[in-house]
Amino acid sequence: MTRRMDHDDLLARVRETYQALDPVPAEVLASARAALAWRRPGAELAGLTGDHTGLAGAVRGTPARTLTFTARDTVIELEIAGTGREREIAGRLAPPSPARIRVRHPALPPEGPETRADDTGHFALPGIPEGLVSLLFHLPDGTSVVTSWIRL
């Protein structure tokens, strides 16, 4: 056997060993396959441009986290409170605009919680489970904006 074949054979055993002893868990594969269903081709992506945690503005003495998402014409600011299993989100759209808002969360049904932003662009989402979250905004002009996924 040539050295080259020795190495290929050995690498195959390394692969088998890791696949047998530390396989990708079935639920990780299932969530990966399910990810495509979260695609919203018509919505503009608002990417994460700020993520700060501090005691300033904190509710009930727990640290508050402030997230900023930026799209071409819209900025979305979220203040996240709560450190247990649930989060409270207080949000603001700039420039101020009413909007219909849907919570996207892999642990919730696809038609997740909904709320509305008022004329000043403010909205509140209490009782959101920890985990991955993305918010989808339907704006009055018929366009929509979706935030990048963030782990709460």
């Binding site: 190495h7 390394v14 396959r33 990810a35 990048s148």
Partner: protein, 178 residues
């Protein structure tokens, strides 16, 4: 294996952009083993590694229309899972520092088939564990990466220097198995 973009990956991304679930499932099948291995190589427990991998696929979904080189999607995924793994590790330690008892204890996952596999692969596993950590990571990722392009992204090494390092690590593993 080579360092070029693959036409296959480009076609799968193009089809997934149009909502083709079968093409997406094929991408998941091609790259999940590598992404999991990268996350585990950052020392993440099962729950955290699962988080990093899940987030990586959701990032691909949100960015899929803007990916400039669909043929290099494997590399893009690897860079993303590295960033998500670092972020997860950082969040875990910050929570610990804040004293929140939130950290999910990873359940010991040892079903029977893994116990059996441990017997069957015990010798190779023991030899791997005796290698320097850098070699363990390199061999694991090398064994699971579809091509050099993903590998060099995963290891932060230029493609040209991977070959010699791989050969040294394999020789060292062979000696321990002799």
């Amino acid at each position: 294996m080579d360092g070029r973009d693959t036409a296959d990956a480009a076609e799968l991304v193009e089809r997934a952009r149009h909502g083709d679930g079968a093409a997406w499932a094929r991408l998941v099948e091609l790259y999940s083993g590598l992404l999991w291995s990268v996350a585990r190589s950052y020392g993440l427990g099962e729950a955290d590694a699962g988080d990093a991998v899940q987030t990586t696929w959701l990032r691909l979904v949100e960015r899929i229309d803007g990916i400039e080189r669909p043929g290099a999607v494997g590399r893009w995924l690897v860079v993303t899972v590295r960033r998500e793994s670092m972020r997860t590790a950082r969040r875990a330690s910050r929570q610990a520092a804040l004293g929140a008892a939130d950290a999910l204890p990873a359940a010991a996952r040892e079903p029977e088939e893994i116990a059996l596999a441990r017997e069957r692969f015990g010798q190779v596993a023991a030899a791997l564990q005796a290698l320097p950590r850098r070699c363990q990571v390199l061999l694991r990722l090398f064994a699971l990466a579809p091509s050099y392009a993903e590998l060099s992204a995963a290891l932060e090494m230029p493609v040209g220097s991977i070959g010699p390092t791989r050969a040294r690590c394999l020789e060292s593993l062979l000696r321990r198995l002799a």
